[in-house]
Structure formats: C-alpha cells, structure tokens
C-alpha cells in the first residue's frame, strides 16, 4: 500500500472523519461500477454502496493491509451485491425499482451517438446474463482484476473463473445478437418503434 494511503488509513482508524471521507470519495466510482455491474441500475445500488463503506468502517481495525483498500472494498461490495441478488430471488417479488433499468444517458453523447447507444446495449446485455457469469466479467473486464485476483476474490478455482469468463462472453454475444436482431426487426416491420 502507498505511504499516503497508509497514512489516511491510520487516521481513519483513529476516528478522523475527514480521512474516511477521503477514502469514500476515492473509491466511490469504483464501488459504484462494481455494484451497478452486478445489480444493474436499481434503487438498491446506493444503499448497497453505502453499506459497503459502513462495513469497511466497522472492520477497519481488523484491516491488516494484505490487500489494497480498493480490493478489500470491492470484496465487500461483491458479497453484499450477491446477497442482494439472492434476496431478490428468494422473495420472488417484483418491484419496478428492484429491476435493473436502463443506464442513465451518457453525458459524453449527443443525439444519435452510436458509441453511446452501443454502451447502453452492452450494459443491458450484461444485466441479462446469469449473475455467476456477470460477476466474473465485471471483475475481470470492468474492474480490471487479473484472472487470479478474480478467482481469489470470489473464492473460486482458477479453472472455474476461466470457464465462466469464456461462457459469459459467448453468452453475451448471443444476447447482444438477439438484441440487435430485435432492433432490426422493429425497424423492418415499420411499426413506428424503429
């Protein structure tokens, strides 16, 4: 861990709220990407995000620095996100705010920006993936962890992670092709939806 980060961590451990705020602000976007990647754009995302940092705060004195703060926070975020997925499945309730919605408009895009449109489609495709594939794709490709790190964080054998990466990507291809086909179909039917 870098010296500066170590210092901030020590201050946070001693109850320095400003130091802990610095940690939150530094890792907020990384955690939001992970949680959103796993849960989609639902109302629970903010709650899970907050809970991630609260759990970190509660265990901060046990944090030995074996991994970086970012990795530790990501592990907490993944566990909370996966628990939330299990909870949704168990309850089998449908609340519109629980269902992943479309991602917000990309501020980089203008009207008819194809790249922005493609990003939205990819994000939608990710939400349609089985969570076990989605999680490895989020960690490996979006968060940038190595395959070994991904396996360690998820406590899975390396072979399983590799298999899920391959199957997840293949499945994503199928999903994206079917989304594309539907869009082309709408355009072809001329029913005003295209």
């Amino acid at each position: 861990m870098e010296t500066a980060e170590q210092e901030i961590l020590e201050r946070a451990k001693n109850g320095d709220e400003l130091a802990f705020r610095t940690i939150i602000e530094k890792y907020e976007s990384r955690i939001s990407a992970t949680v959103t990647g796993i849960l989609g754009f639902s109302a629970d995302v903010d709650d899970i995000g907050q809970e991630t940092f609260v759990r970190f705060y509660q265990s901060i004195h046990r944090f030995r620095g074996d991994s970086s703060i970012g990795t530790y926070l990501t592990k907490i975020a993944i566990n909370l996100s996966l628990n939330e997925l299990k909870r949704r499945k168990r309850k089998e309730r449908f609340r519109p705010e629980d269902m992943p919605g479309d991602p917000p408009p990309d501020p980089r895009s203008g009207e008819g920006d194809r790249a922005a449109d493609a990003r939205v489609v990819v994000q939608r495709g990710l939400q349609m993936l089985d969570p076990k594939f989605r999680t490895v794709l989020v960690l490996r490709l979006m968060d940038g962890y190595s395959t070994k790190e991904t396996a360690k964080m998820l406590r899975l054998p390396l072979g399983t992670v590799l298999s899920r990466l391959a199957r997840g990507q293949a499945r994503m291809r199928e999903i994206l092709e079917s989304i594309d086909d539907k869009r082309d179909g709408y355009k072809g039917e001329g029913d005003g939806r295209g």
Binding site: G37, L141, M142, L176
Partner: protein, 152 residues
C-alpha cells in the same frame, strides 16, 4: 454419408477446442503446445481471425460500458450512516432524522399500507363497527349542516 458426417463432427469438435483456446488466451497463459495450435488455426482461418477480433471488440465494449455513479452527496449520506451505526450522533440533526426515518420507514411502510387497506375494506363491509362520526369526528347531523353551507 455416415463417414462424411463423422468427419464433419470431428472438424467441429476441433473447432470448438480451438475456440476454447482462443477464449482462454485472453485470460490465461497458454502452454507452448496450445499457443502453437492456436497460432496455426489463426494463420489458416480468416473466420477464426474475425472471431478473435469480435471477442476483442466485445471485451472492450464491456470494459467501457457505463457504470452508474451514486447520487450526489453519497459521501455525506454514508458518513451519516456510519455515525448512526457507531452511535456517534455528531452529524446535523436533519441528517440524522432523515437517515433514521428512511431506515424505519422502509420497514414499516409495507406493513402499514397492508393494514390500512385491510382496515378500510373491513370498515366498508362492516359499517357499524367503526362509526362515521368516530372516523371523521363529526356526526351525520353535523355533516348535514356542513353540506348546507353556501359553498356547497
């Protein structure tokens, strides 16, 4: 004919194995033997080269797909929650109130809504149980007088 089908199946089997190697090559080290096999397949097959490009494009698209930022004020809300949990109410009174309210409200909102609906339904079907004047703090006579006011 059967021999042709067998050959085709074997070819597909080889293709599947090489395709697996192709996927694996992005995320793990291949052995020398695997690397040579994959390179040979890529060298002879334009379709495999296109497949490699498609996988690369997909991985790039996933890596750059938008994550959603938390709502503005995330750090403030998180710190308020931290203080609440650690029993250190040093935040503003408004922060604490809304944080508490949100937590309590979520838990009872659904139960309360169900109870209210049940009560209303029961009240409608058993009119004598809860008299109108108890609910509205006004008797039928008072209602009559109200309805005679000029505004009506």
């Amino acid at each position: 004919m059967i021999k042709e089908m067998d050959i085709k199946e074997k070819e597909m089997d080889v293709d599947r194995k090489v395709l697996k190697l192709l996927y694996r090559s992005f995320d793990a080290e291949l052995t020398e033997k695997q690397r040579l096999r994959l390179e040979a397949a890529l060298a002879v097959s334009a379709e495999f080269r296109r497949e490699k490009d498609r996988i690369l494009a997909l991985r790039k698209a996933i890596a750059h797909s938008p994550g959603r930022a938390f709502r503005p004020g995330f750090a403030n809300r998180t710190l308020a929650r931290v203080r609440l949990r650690s029993g250190r109410p040093t935040g503003s009174a408004a922060d604490l109130f809304f944080e508490n309210f949100k937590i309590v409200f979520r838990r009872i909102a659904l139960v309360s809504a169900v109870l209210l609906v049940a009560l209303a339904a029961y009240s409608l079907t058993h009119r004598d149980l809860i008299p109108k004047d108890a609910v509205y703090y006004a008797s039928d006579v008072a209602f009559g007088r109200i309805l005679q006011l000029p505004v009506f």
